[in-house]
């Protein structure tokens, strides 16, 4: 990342402009995903925004650990019991109406919380269906999600990010290059009034749509944001129509950060070739072919507009966009895994508490005493009266608990396992049996899918191993990664095994178990340092295999060679893996092996419990 002063100044110009535009039309633009470490730069941006918004605007900080009853509102039990009628305690999202919501450490925001915020942004209404309450409270607010994440793996969950018009990155912007906004609060307020009068021409809409498609953005929402930004920008200058500069600002601020590929050099009227291999496929950003002849009959001004726009966007694209896209395509750890509430298995006895639900303790569930008492409290007078009516002989207990009061704790803890596939995609393996290896992986994937396990895919070939798919439960992505698995080159078995233990270690840190499935012909010929040489390669492979064994990982080695190889067998022994050979392996024997692998795991009873 470049951090020379001029770049920093440019970042501030855009950031300040974004703050101004957001202040003009908060109802359409919703907010900003602000990537920056906690520090003066971020604080200054927020205070800039506040200075542009109407005075006296309420600011709410949304703590990461916020519970649903605080977020959405709930029953104020104490007040309810005291007064004998329902007393509602309003939640943060409802109180934030017409205010500013700041989410620090937004990259760690629990996905369900992020989705709740997103739902309010979408509908402008907080819906509370909790604890006997059924409320609809209108609420519109500006969200500033402060993303303090480092690297692409760690960022605000997509569901919320998508709904915020601006994605700013101030992580390299020092506070010194701060730029004073060109407009002040009063001018912004005037611009807001002018908004409905600004005309957006068809040519402008067409240019924005074409630019979005050329950049691999297909979400109409992004284009809507771009239009709103262009309109605000025109309103600021009291222009009755959206001008080129407004479109350029929209392209730079809204489209550029969302680009999933580079536009074609001479982009006239880009037609993305097909739905499948454009936007989602960051790994291979093929520039679309501009159809030459059909652009002539379209309005000439929209083509020029689009040029202006694409130039603006291209200038704003980060230099490392390609690398980032590549990275993002591969590691969707946070979006894929953490975004899935199915990952957070309740009914375990460990992990982060995420609330409670009705149920009886035992069989892997723990009683939530407070929640149970809370549940029972309102009914006490009634139950006491009932007891007196029945003239029950036993003395009245202090608190009368019933079975339906029981609340059990839910924990955000996954007891699922992740199967890490380590596939030998080298030349020796590729030519003869890569197809069959893929078939075997598919069989195992089907098993994982049924068990709702996560899968990860490592391939090794040439001189290195690569994590093609970070742990995910998405079948779609697993299938795609497997299908696009390339083949050829040397066999860096050691590198593959080392990466496998690294990945397994990460998985273990997330309190999950990892299982390694290695598919190789055992013909290691590239050592750990990437240099060719069979003897060293073999020694390194065995050493790496022992590391897996030392980590206590359960594993399966499928020998893909036409004739079983001695080294493959030795590697299997070194990593304490089950060993089967592919030539003899049909669907059922692979499935059996997978099942044995599963049975060997110590968590098998927990697994049965969650079914």
């Amino acid at each position: 990342m470049t951090t020379d002063p001029s770049t920093r100044a440019v970042q501030w110009v855009d950031a300040t402009l974004a703050a101004t535009l957001l202040a003009v039309d908060p109802a359409s633009l919703h907010g900003v995903a602000l990537r920056a470490p906690a520090g003066p730069a971020r604080d200054m941006w927020v205070s800039q925004l506040r200075d542009l918004l109407p005075a006296g605007l309420a600011v709410h900080r949304l703590p990461l650990s916020i519970t649903d009853d605080r977020l959405l509102g709930g029953l104020d039990l104490t007040a309810t019991l005291r007064s004998g009628r329902r007393v509602v305690q309003s939640g943060l999202l409802a109180s934030a109406n017409r205010g500013l919501v700041i989410v620090p450490m937004a990259e760690r925001l629990a996905p369900p919380t992020a989705r709740q915020i997103a739902a309010v942004i979408d509908t402008g209404v907080v819906r509370t269906e909790r604890e006997g309450l059924s409320l609809k409270t209108p609420s519109q607010f500006i969200t500033v999600a402060c993303d303090e994440g480092i690297g692409e793996d760690e960022q605000l969950c997509d569901a919320l990010r998508d709904r915020l018009a601006f994605h700013l990155d101030l992580s390299a912007a020092g506070p010194n290059s701060l730029i004073e906004p060109e407009f002040d609060r009063n001018e912004v307020a005037l611009a807001r009034e002018r908004l409905p009068l600004v005309e957006v021409s068809d040519a402008a809409i067409e240019a924005l749509c074409a630019a979005a498609l050329a950049l691999g953005i297909r979400s109409p929402r992004a284009v809507m944001f771009a239009i709103a930004v262009a309109r605000s920008s025109a309103a600021l200058d009291a222009s009755p129509t959206v001008r080129d500069t407004d479109l350029a600002a929209a392209g730079r601020l809204v489209l550029a950060p969302r680009a999933t590929r580079l536009p074609a050099p001479a982009a006239d009227q880009d037609e993305p070739d097909s739905a499948e291999d454009t936007a989602d496929d960051g790994q291979d950003p093929t520039p679309p072919t501009p159809p030459e002849d059909q652009s002539d009959d379209s309005k000439p001004d929209s083509a020029t507009l689009e040029d202006v726009l694409l130039n603006a966007v291209t200038a704003a694209l980060p230099d490392d966009l390609l690398a980032k896209l590549d990275q993002a395509a591969k590691s969707n750890v946070r979006h894929g895994a953490a975004g899935n509430s199915g990952t957070t298995r309740p009914a375990a006895l460990r992990g982060r508490p995420i609330g409670h639900r009705q149920g009886t303790p035992g069989s892997g569930h723990r009683l939530d005493i407070i929640a149970t008492l809370r549940q029972a409290a309102p009914w006490q007078p009634m139950r006491r009266a009932e007891r007196q009516r029945q003239k029950s002989s036993t003395s009245a207990p202090l608190i009368e608990l019933r079975r339906d009061d029981m609340r059990i704790k839910r924990f955000a803890q996954s007891v699922s396992q992740t199967t890490v596939f380590v596939v030998d995609a080298s030349g020796s393996a590729a030519f003869q049996r890569l197809g069959e290896a893929k078939g075997a992986v598919e069989l195992l994937l089907a098993d994982c899918y049924i068990r709702r396990d996560r899968v990860a895919l490592i391939a090794f070939r040439g001189d290195k191993a690569e994590l093609l798919l970070s742990p995910t439960r998405s079948l779609t992505r697993a299938r795609r990664a497997l299908a696009s698995l390339p083949g050829g080159g040397g066999t860096p078995l050691a590198a593959g095994l080392t990466l496998a233990s690294d990945v397994a270690e990460t998985i273990a840190r997330q309190d999950e178990t990892a299982v390694i499935v290695l598919l190789t012909d055992g013909g290691a010929n590239i050592a750990s340092d990437g240099l060719p040489g069979r003897p060293r390669a073999e020694a390194d492979a065995l050493a790496s295999a022992q590391r897996l064994k030392a980590a206590g990982l359960r594993s399966l080695l499928i020998d893909t060679a036409t004739r079983p190889q001695p080294l493959a067998k030795r590697v299997a022994e070194a990593m304490n893996a089950m060993y089967i050979t592919l030539p003899n392996a049909d669907a059922s024997s692979i499935s059996t092996a997978a099942r044995v692998l599963d049975d060997r795991q110590p968590h098998s009873n927990a697994r049965a419990g969650r079914r």
Binding site: T80, Q116, P220, S341, D404, R473
Partner: protein
């Protein structure tokens, strides 16, 4: 409450629209699952349905919006204490399209005892939940793939049995809860358990527009709607009304649509080719084709109906090999085999 985007103004997405309309014509088809990218207007379409559907006749004052001409046994036992309940007069009300909000607790979904009445008067009174509110209408769950498993199980159970049972404080309440479950989600964020997939009648895939013309149209209409919601809705009202009349007519025609032996045989063969499990696929395929025929004013089911509805009715039932790339391709192939290209 904000005005909903008009259903007829939704650009393209024919498969999704068709599935929702078919469910509106014949709710017994059993739920619609909509999977697709973010920002494709899944929620918009379902919410638009609410203002599109013809109003329904209910027993006046009934808390479960019971049908005066339907089975009233449950309604009579449950509602008899209600003063407003009047068995002879009826009312019209809009078909409920209940949006299940995130963070809803179980007691609000299934219903619970009325806390206020318990506290103030020491009375046990049942307070219906969202399932009751959705009776005879639609229950929509956005991001159903992220909903907790125990809630999904509960919803599917009620949807299948058409009845909600609540036991609380010694009261045992059973009330009718027949609704069309509509779930939507983004498959990149996690899949639905395979066991749950085939409990949905229809499943559709939605994609973001890839053609500039349709993206522009989406954006243009959306912008017009946001700038002047009431004006926009008024402009599309005639189309929505026409659609509504078609639904009403289709419902009336539904029982008379003929299922020829030939159509039945075609449906059976299609299901066999695809190896879809059980008879559910076939049943849904035939029913959906019948609803489609009714919607289009035909008298009997023909190949075109089967052909157009087969992907939605079958794509989520191909369980033999959950991994073969794109079940859509398989359905497509089977359809070609069956009908020729």
């Amino acid at each position: 409450m904000a005005v909903a985007y008009p259903f007829s103004a939704i650009v393209d997405q024919d498969e999704m629209k068709r599935a929702l309309l078919i469910a509106a014509v014949d709710p017994s088809i059993g739920g619609v699952l909509i999977f697709g990218d973010r920002g494709t207007g899944k929620s918009t379409a379902v919410r638009a349905l609410a203002s599109l559907l013809p109003p329904m006749r209910v027993v006046k004052g009934c808390r479960f919006q019971c049908d005066p001409s339907g089975d009233r046994s449950q309604c009579l036992t449950l509602c008899k204490s209600d003063h407003a309940h009047n068995t002879s007069s009826t009312d019209m009300m809009p078909v409920p399209v209940v949006d299940l909000p995130l963070g809803a607790t179980e007691d609000r979904i299934v219903g619970a005892l009325d806390l206020e009445r318990a506290l103030t008067r020491g009375e046990k009174a049942f307070e219906p939940g969202l399932l009751a509110r959705a009776h005879r209408g639609f229950l929509y769950i956005d991001e159903i793939n992220l909903l907790e498993d125990h809630l999904v199980d509960l919803l599917l159970d009620v949807a299948a049995s058409g009845e909600n049972v609540v036991e609380r404080e010694g009261l045992s309440i059973r009330h009718p809860a027949r609704f069309v479950l509509v779930g939507s989600g983004n498959p990149e964020e996690g899949e639905l358990r395979p066991q749950l997939l085939d409990r949905f009648g229809l499943a559709v895939d939605v994609k973001t527009p890839t053609e500039i013309a349709s993206l522009m149209e989406v954006v243009r209409r959306r912008d017009a709607f946001e700038r002047n919601p009431t004006g926009f809705v008024a402009r599309w009202r005639p189309d929505d009304e026409k659609l509504r009349d078609t639904i009403v007519a289709a419902r009336a025609r539904l029982p008379d649509i003929e299922l020829t032996d030939r159509a039945l045989e075609t449906a059976t063969r299609l299901c066999m080719t695809l190896g879809s499990d059980g008879v559910r696929g076939e049943l849904v395929l035939v029913r959906a084709a019948r609803a489609l025929a009714a919607f289009e004013g035909e008298v009997s089911i023909n190949d075109s109906h089967l052909r157009r509805i087969a992907p939605s009715a079958l794509r989520h039932r191909l369980r033999r090999n959950p991994l073969e790339g794109g079940s859509d391709a398989r359905v497509e192939r089977a359809i070609k085999e069956q009908f020729g290209s």
